[in-house]
Homo-oligomer: 352 residues x 2
Amino acid sequence: MELELVNSKFLSLSKLVGREVKKSSSFLDTKLMFGLNGTHKFCSCRGVVLKASYDAASSISKENLVVDTFSCQINGTGLYLRDVRMLDASDDEYGGVVINPQTLPSNPNIFASVLRASLSHWKMKGKKGIWLKLPVEKCDLVPVAVKEGFQYHHAERGYIMMTYWLPDDPCMLPSNASHQVGVGGFVVNDKNEVLVVQEKHSAPALSGLWKIPTGFILESEEIFTGVVREVKEETGIDTEFEEVIAFRHAHNVAFEKSDLFFVCLLRPLSTRIMVDDLEIQAAKWMPLVKFVEQPLVQADSMFKKIIDICIARLGKRYCGLSVHQLVSTFDGKLSSLYFNTVEDSNSNCQAN
Amino acid sequence: MELELVNSKFLSLSKLVGREVKKSSSFLDTKLMFGLNGTHKFCSCRGVVLKASYDAASSISKENLVVDTFSCQINGTGLYLRDVRMLDASDDEYGGVVINPQTLPSNPNIFASVLRASLSHWKMKGKKGIWLKLPVEKCDLVPVAVKEGFQYHHAERGYIMMTYWLPDDPCMLPSNASHQVGVGGFVVNDKNEVLVVQEKHSAPALSGLWKIPTGFILESEEIFTGVVREVKEETGIDTEFEEVIAFRHAHNVAFEKSDLFFVCLLRPLSTRIMVDDLEIQAAKWMPLVKFVEQPLVQADSMFKKIIDICIARLGKRYCGLSVHQLVSTFDGKLSSLYFNTVEDSNSNCQAN
């Protein structure tokens, strides 16, 4: 059952990744859903709602190799092979093939010959993108796959995903994740004091700067929960998310990926500061006026603009984006939509 | 020179990635800058503004192995080794080590013994995170590194990045990119018609739905240029970016990563539609009323909400986020800040 669930997830993924899309998108067309408990059985990819392969996965062979009785004609010589060993794999919805990572041979030489035979077969059948997920335990197979023409696609701690684009025309496989997401919490109490920190590992240029708590959101974490967690971790202060005030988009940041940073307005729910000794040198409630007057803030157009906006928001002269969780019938999943509430009579913003 | 530039980029990256951060962030503290032409020489990491290693990189040994004359005491036996071969590497700013990918030995056995000696040395010196970037040409070394205890961190087409956390306490190295970013273009002409498409690979459930053009942004592409490009590619229509209207955050999408989708309002600059035959079945200007009346839109709370917002924005009863490019002195780079212009007398929004 456990194995079947893994298979189900992997095969569901394959519906998307195996597709010849150079671009895809978002709620209006591409969504893929993995049920956390194996009960969700569909995903939608660029509008294609798919029945997931949970049931199919249950019946996948657990043998190391699958004997496939295909026939192929080699170089037009008329020579026919029968009972050639093939890698256990599934077709995806987009003309591609997903190799089953559970049933890969361990021996690199066997893997090499079977992979070669499989690639010839798939090419002959007009297949396009081939997806090979190698668990870290099968790391000996990585050099073999490279030598057979596979490319690295992405990796996570437990595996590396490799791809092979069989057609002669340009590769249309989708890209890997491109962004990291950071959050910053602007927390102001009823004495008009801002919650600020000084970090332990501060540059000389930033020496003495008091800044708002910031951090990355975790895997699958919401922006509105991630920012509350970061503020709690760094300062011990409990807060409630109110709005995304602005966001910044920057490129070539860590690992040459891009960065989206969301500035959030939070309402404090507690007052007593407890500093995270690991990362934070000091934390305090600082009068807003003093926070703004810091020379390093005044000298920086980006910082200054953001703080100006936050202050306008405190004065109800600016409308940030509040969050609403909605289910779309197109992928059946709950997701978070951020938009402003200018027209909402309950809005904190009175700009209208 | 080419090699030096590569080194420069890698070593600059190392300043960030080698750091013991379980979380980092964004413009307020973590930024890293790579000059496209090698002229930018600094990066700032969690507030640390660093002089990049461009000059240092120029002087890096090009030999396969560096003879290091460190001495080490093994297991308290009093045995001292001298002239032990070590991997060519640089310290990073955060107690870590970045192995130079340019000077790795090719032979897996030599690599194994030198890696082992290097790890012992770094452990003795109290080093923390070890970064090993293996170019695809050195794929034979991947199994060796795994056997020595390295873990996969991330991979791109040309390389796999592996890490080793030496201390006994939990690994604090930063994570890989977590999100993909999609965009959708809401384009309305002066006849109150919306630019809509039908996709070639549409699910039966979405059969007949006319939707706005959508797609992923490219590597290092801005949201405001990516959405204009997507609309042009799919429909042939030239547009000008006006505002981000709302955004949606969803999880466990492609490759189990998260997805941020930005709905953008665009102003059309041309009228003649030319359909992208590869992905798009049909495109047209559709009366806004008919677009909204589509049963599939009416039945979906997410779609309906977004379209309601777009219509409010057209009626100047909603304030989206416009984009402003600003340089922050903390990383010296131009980045894009998105915020609304409620207070701006030139704003299109008259909600104020």
